[in-house]
């Protein structure tokens, strides 16, 4: 994004520094405060290289300025992060942009603003204990390969431990 376009984006929104406090309630949701906008995270970001919209530096900037309505929604660009952690390798400030993006995703989920897929897959873990489907075909293939059968997954234990105190 050119600096002109960036300036327009900034003008369009109200600054909301309270957003930093809100994001800070989520794990790792403070690391963007270390960012000095050098842009080292961008060059090797695969999502940036394959999409004009995705830019980790800009996501961090929006988090700093509190552009909540652009970040906290199911079609926010944050959902195209590949979670590859290359930005975390490049960042001289230890911002760990992926971890800030995950904090933003956690905020989306907690407000019911995550894409449906997130709830769908993570809910499966709480029903079956795994993310995948266990079918009779899985069992048959395991048997053919001489593998031990799938034992039950202790779903009740997971349900108990994910409850906040």
């Amino acid at each position: 994004m050119s600096s002109d376009k960036q300036a327009q984006t900034v003008k369009k929104h109200k600054l909301n520094f309270a957003f930093r406090e809100k994001l800070g309630t989520f794990a790792e949701g403070f690391r963007h405060n270390y960012c000095y906008q050098c842009g080292a995270c961008v060059a090797d970001c695969p999502a940036s290289n394959y999409s004009k919209e995705f830019n980790p530096r800009l996501i961090i900037l929006k988090a700093l300025l509190g552009f909540e309505d652009e970040l906290i929604k199911p079609d926010s660009e944050i959902w195209n992060c590949t979670n590859c952690y290359t930005c975390s390798e490049r960042c001289p400030q230890d911002v760990r942009p992926v971890d800030v993006i995950i904090a933003l995703k956690n905020m989306c989920y907690s407000e019911g603003k995550a894409p449906e897929l997130i709830g769908h897959i993570s809910d499966t873990v709480l029903v079956t204990g795994v993310t995948t489907k266990i079918t009779s075909l899985s069992e048959r293939r395991r048997q053919e390969l001489g593998l031990p059968p799938i034992k039950g997954y202790p779903v009740d234990e997971i349900k108990k431990i994910i409850e906040a105190d």
Binding site: F26, A27, E28, P46, A47, Y50, S51, F54, W79, N80, T82, N83, C84, Y85, T86, S88, E89, R96, V98, I102, A103, K105, N106, C108, Y109, S110, A114, P115, L117, I118, G119, I121, S122, V125, G129, V130, T131, T132, K133, I134, S138, R141, R142, L145, G146, L147, P148, I150, K151, Y153, P154, V155, E157, I158, K160, I161, I162, E163, A164, D165
Partner: protein, 296 residues
């Protein structure tokens, strides 16, 4: 860190390999035994949970479920070994985060107390390829080979979570790694390191368009380098390159035909297993011709 012994490990196969690609699990079990790794199976594991969707849901829940899995291995005191890069990402990161942050560990343990468990921080989490390199060495791998895969050109695909974040993984140089190349050389294959070797498979993107371009770029690069197949170590990357290759080939009217092979399948073939033992016939992109050539 003291080890009870080097050579015994608790395997964590994860969801994908247990239910969707059990032939990868079979390949690991059959080959690891020959190298000298004793795998001690324990009951009670759940999903790691996955580093993309579950972590996006709630990081505290993600830490806690992973800590529960790690604590089961701690009971026996052997290292937990992973065979999927997703499980490696989750379990390595949570293990380190809780070891480094006593406050976080206390919060997680408060939750684990409800089921009578505790995370102690007494073991390591390591991908099976790291264990082979560090506890046995490449020469030990070569010693198990009865049928070197001479002439087989394998395009290396690292996947992201064996190496990154390097602060957590501590496996190899995240920009210029050599571990997979050396493991391929150890079985007589020729590793092809191409300019998309380090590119992500794109599985985590919510968009279809971004990973589609990545996959096409990677596969076309491999074709241009005349590699016989892609070699990788992650079932999620496999998902992207095997099944989606068929779909994308049709969409773009391109004949890609790049077989995608999990490293432990290649190792198995080099150790004399047949293609059915390691489930090669189950792949969508067929690898028959190549292995007729190599295994003739």
């Amino acid at each position: 860190m003291t080890y009870k012994s080097i050579g015994k490990y608790i395997p964590f196969f994860g969801c994908m390999m247990t239910t969707k690609y059990p032939w990868f699990e079979a390949a690991v079990r059959k080959t690891a035994a020959k190298i000298g790794m004793e795998l001690i199976d324990i009951d009670g594991f759940t999903c790691c949970p996955d580093p993309i969707y579950y972590q996006a849901r709630d990081k505290m829940e993600w830490y806690t479920i992973a800590a529960r899995n790690i604590s089961l291995a701690e009971d026996l005191g052997y290292d937990l070994i992973t065979t999927c890069s997703g499980c490696t990402a989750t379990l390595s990161e949570v293990n380190l985060a809780l070891k480094e942050d006593p406050g976080l560990k206390a919060k997680v343990n408060e939750r684990l107390k409800k089921i009578g468990r505790e995370f102690k921080g007494s073991i390591n989490v390591r991908h099976a390829v790291t264990v082979i390199r560090d506890d046995f060495g490449f020469e030990q791998v070569t010693k198990t080979v009865t049928r070197p895969l001479e002439g087989l050109k394998v395009a290396v695909h690292y996947g992201c979570h064996l190496l990154k974040p390097s602060r957590v993984m501590r496996v190899d140089d995240p920009n210029h790694p050599t571990i997979l190349e050396n493991l391929l050389k150890a079985i007589g294959a020729e590793p092809i390191h191409h300019d998309k070797t380090m590119l992500c498979c794109g599985k985590a993107c919510i968009s279809d368009a971004i990973p589609e371009q990545m996959i096409m770029d990677i596969l076309e690069t491999i074709k241009s380098r005349e590699a016989d197949c892609m070699g990788l170590i992650c079932p999620t990357c496999f998902d992207q390159f095997d099944i989606r290759q068929i779909i994308l080939g049709r969409k773009h009217k391109k004949k890609l035909d790049v077989p995608i092979i999990y490293y432990f399948q290649l190792l198995g073939l080099a150790q004399g297993l047949n293609t059915k033992d390691v489930g090669l016939q189950m792949h969508k992109v067929k690898a028959d011709q190549i292995f007729e050539k190599v295994l003739a």
